[in-house]
């Protein structure tokens, strides 16, 4: 069965809410999952794999003592800590030409991609690197709401579950870096024109979690609701 972007977003957001994510964090996490799913990057599958580690275990606090050192996510998910960190990087990137930050013990680095895509319009260039566990580095290059992708062999650049984010504000011409575009406004519109097909079993499980945010209607609500008491004239 196919779904709209709205349906993937609202169901994911409700699921996060049901799992204890506060207002705002639930919206960001819902957006991450829906955006990845829209762009065929397995948002629902990643969320499903993380359910046990996030259900009623929300901890979005990020402690940064020294930006020159690595940040350690201690295997907490980007769904909880990612949006706060990206906002923080955005706030300090204004003062620098280039910012580079490594995050240790940070599984599912791809979850940063929607957040970085969102802020990319404010920066000249944003880059996301992470070890994809096949001894290869996945590199996503983001500029003007377009994303190019490449992989290369890990040359001791990043250890497993380590993520590197680079933000550049200099005026360097980066057109030559953007040969292999995988996401553009056109691909997004093309994907929106198709229903989003996701694994039904995984979707069902996430929908069931989302359903926990619903409340059975009381008789009083029912009678006061639209059509109540005076339906047939």
């Amino acid at each position: 069965m196919g779904y709209s972007f709205y349906e993937i977003y609202i169901t994911s957001q409700r699921a996060f809410r049901a799992m204890g994510f506060p207002f705002g964090a639930d919206e960001d996490a819902g957006f991450i999952i829906a955006w990845l799913e829209l762009n065929h990057l397995n948002g629902i599958k990643i969320l499903h794999n993380l359910l046990n580690s996030i259900d009623h275990k929300y901890d979005g606090i990020v402690k940064i003592e020294n930006l020159n050192e690595n940040i350690d996510f201690k295997n907490s998910t980007i769904l909880m800590k990612g949006s706060g960190l990206v906002d923080y990087l955005q706030s300090i990137s204004n003062q620098k030409e280039k910012l580079s930050l490594n995050i240790k013990n940070c599984p599912d680095g791809i979850l940063f991609l929607p957040l970085l895509y969102k802020i990319s319009r404010k920066n000249n260039y944003v880059e996301l690197n992470f070890n994809n566990s096949k001894n290869k580095i996945s590199k996503y290059k983001i500029k003007d709401k377009e994303i190019a992708f490449e992989t290369f062999i890990n040359q001791d650049l990043l250890i497993n579950n380590e993520v590197r984010i680079i933000i550049k504000n200099d005026k360097e011409n980066l057109e030559n870096l953007f040969q292999q575009k995988i996401i553009t406004q056109k691909t997004i519109q093309d994907n929106l024109a198709q229903s989003i097909n996701t694994n039904e079993n995984l979707w069902k499980e996430i929908s069931q979690i989302a359903n926990k945010t619903f409340v059975p209607e009381s008789e009083e609500s029912r009678n006061k609701g639209a059509g109540g008491g005076d339906a047939n004239d």
Binding site: S83, D87, V215, P216, A226, G227, G229, A231, N232
Partner: protein, 561 residues
């Protein structure tokens, strides 16, 4: 009982619930701009299929040709047992069901739609469908009109005025619901680039179908004597709509959009007020329009005592405007529109003030109409990450006094909670101290959340020098409310300036606000939580629609035709 505060007793903000509940449709409303677009862009509408049996059950398709594009309103009509007929959103069967589909419908697609559209929420749609809707027949009117026409007579327009419609929609879905096209796609790749334009086209065509359907049934009741509805009577028929709480959270969840609608409205007013002098001709037209609105108020029917009193008071107030304007005309002083609007805001209730504004806008299409074509905005919210907490505190203090000065320890200020119903995933209101489910409350109590944030910030002086980004690293639970407050610092009409959790909240005010921008008329509240309205009452049907009559159907009365 005091119906409303008069404007002279309160500082002006149009975003309080009582003021929002006094709004009327205007030239900027979506039904108005949609109809204008049909004429301006020469949309051609044809009935390409009308395959109904003698009882009116079957399939009809209306095709809309727009330049090189075709859209199709597909209508399904079926038998509905009396026990299944309900306006409630939890109903599972309806007399009629509809979809607005991108392109011409082929046989294969029609089969798919036939299997899904009559099921409504229980069916599935594709991104090729823009709108999903359903409507029930008016028990009071449909059969009566069919029989009257079948006998060769025209119905009495008073009977039509008593009800207002032949069919009454109970939901009009769009924007990604149930698999429909997401609005970000609709906006980018179809002609429906304004909010609710596709919805308004669907509703207009459902109205066409309602008359085609009743005339068809009449013909099959008595093919020898049956007549069609006379244009002058037909035009008074609108399309009914039952609207419940589903619309209220929309206003809280889409504050930038709400701001856009309101700011366009007030841009029009501001520009009109800047005109140095009123011409005699414009003043005469204005008086005529106010008289027309007064006539409408005298005819419109409701059983709701509060609405009745409002309508009576509004009619009295409009009389005062007419008198004031006529005296202005006699005196021939150098008065401008500001003088008249000041008179209304200093002396009259909100409803009359609103009517004066919407009728004034009618006089200046060159100002209003371009604004009506720019009513969209994204829902994106953003943080001002470099703002300091100290600055944020000052902003809240200055702009959210309506929220931070409320005592939430009092039960009456926290009495209600908004939730999503398990039955149909629709927003509902519960009573916190009498009903279960408050722990699953939706985050719509903006006043309360702002109050909590403000008190937290005031108590934690150690964070006052932090930037918002630094603060949120350590206190992510405030992310949603800070993002909202910061975003809306540029959108001064975005926030409802009232505590919508308070016991005395009238949700129907929020519904009326949104419905006014849709262009709904004939407000008939059925409780404080739902109401009936009509769309397009008085508007020309497509076969009669032309550039001369496309704009003059607001506040239509029985003698308007």
């Amino acid at each position: 009982m005091m119906l409303q505060k008069s404007a002279s007793n309160s500082s002006f903000t149009p975003m309080t619930l009582d003021r929002m509940g006094s709004r009327y449709p205007s030239r900027l409303s979506f039904s108005r701009s949609m109809l204008r677009t049909i004429i301006k862009n020469n949309w051609k509408i044809t009935r390409s299929k009308f395959d109904l049996d003698k009882d009116g059950y079957g399939t009809a398709i209306y095709e809309i040709n727009i330049l090189n594009e075709i859209y199709s309103l597909v209508c399904f009509s079926q038998y509905l047992a009396e026990e299944d007929r309900s306006d409630r959103v939890i109903a599972e069967k309806w007399d009629t069901a509809y979809t607005l589909h991108i392109g011409k419908v082929n046989e294969k697609e029609l089969e798919r739609l036939k299997l899904n559209i009559p099921l409504q929420e229980a069916g599935r749609n594709s991104p090729k469908e823009l709108i999903l809707s359903r409507a029930n027949k008016s028990v009071r009117l449909f059969k009566k009109i069919a029989e009257t026409l079948a006998n060769g007579f025209q119905p009495d327009i008073n009977e039509i005025n008593d009800v207002g419609y032949l069919l009454r929609t109970t939901a009009v879905y769009g924007s990604g619901k149930f698999g429909l096209s997401d609005f970000i796609r609709t906006e980018a790749s179809t002609v429906f680039d304004q909010p609710f334009r596709a919805e308004m086209l669907a509703v207009y065509l459902i109205r066409e179908f309602s008359v085609d359907l009743v005339e068809h049934v009449a013909y099959h009741l008595n093919s020898k004597k049956a007549v069609k509805l006379k244009s002058s009577i037909k035009q008074h028929i609108g399309i009914g709509n039952s609207t419940g709480l589903g619309m209220a959270p929309f206003i809280i969840k889409h504050p930038k959009l709400v701001h856009k609608w309101m700011s366009q409205f007030y841009k029009a007013i501001k520009e009109i007020k800047s005109k140095k002098q009123i011409t005699d001709d414009k003043l005469i037209q204005f008086i005529h329009l106010i008289k027309k609105a007064k006539g409408y108020l005298n005819e419109v029917l409701t059983n709701d005592s509060f609405q009745k009193k409002k309508n009576i008071q509004s009619a009295i107030d409009l009389k005062k405007i007419i008198k004031y304007c006529e005296e202005l005309k006699i005196n021939k002083n150098n008065n401008n529109w500001d003088t008249i609007l000041n008179f209304t805001s200093n002396n009259l209730q909100f409803d009359a003030q609103e009517i004066a504004q919407v009728q004034l806008i009618e006089l200046y299409p060159e100002i209003a109409d371009p604004l009506a074509e720019n009513m969209s905005d994204s829902d994106d919210m953003y943080l001002n990450v470099n703002e300091t907490i100290f600055s944020l505190i000052n902003f809240i203090k200055k702009n959210y006094s309506w929220a931070i000065n409320i005592d939430y320890s009092k039960k009456e200020n926290l009495y209600l909670f908004w939730y999503i119903s398990e039955e149909k995933l629709e927003p509902r209101l519960g009573e916190r101290y009498n009903e279960e489910g408050a722990e699953l409350e939706q985050p719509l109590g903006i006043g309360k959340m702002t109050h909590e944030l403000y008190n937290f910030l005031i108590k934690h002086k150690d964070v006052h020098n932090y930037t918002v980004a630094e603060f949120l690293l350590l206190h992510p639970k405030f992310r949603g409310i800070i993002r909202r407050i910061q975003t809306l610092s540029d959108y001064n009409f975005g926030e409802v300036n009232d505590n919508i959790l308070a016991k005395n909240t009238m949700p129907v005010n929020m519904l009326r606000f949104k419905l006014s921008f849709f262009g709904a008329s004939r407000y008939d509240p059925k409780s404080d939580r739902w109401l009936r309205v009509s769309f397009y009452a008085g508007a020309p049907f497509y076969s009669d629609l032309n550039s001369q009559n496309v704009e003059n159907w607001g506040f239509a009365t029985m003698n308007s035709y």
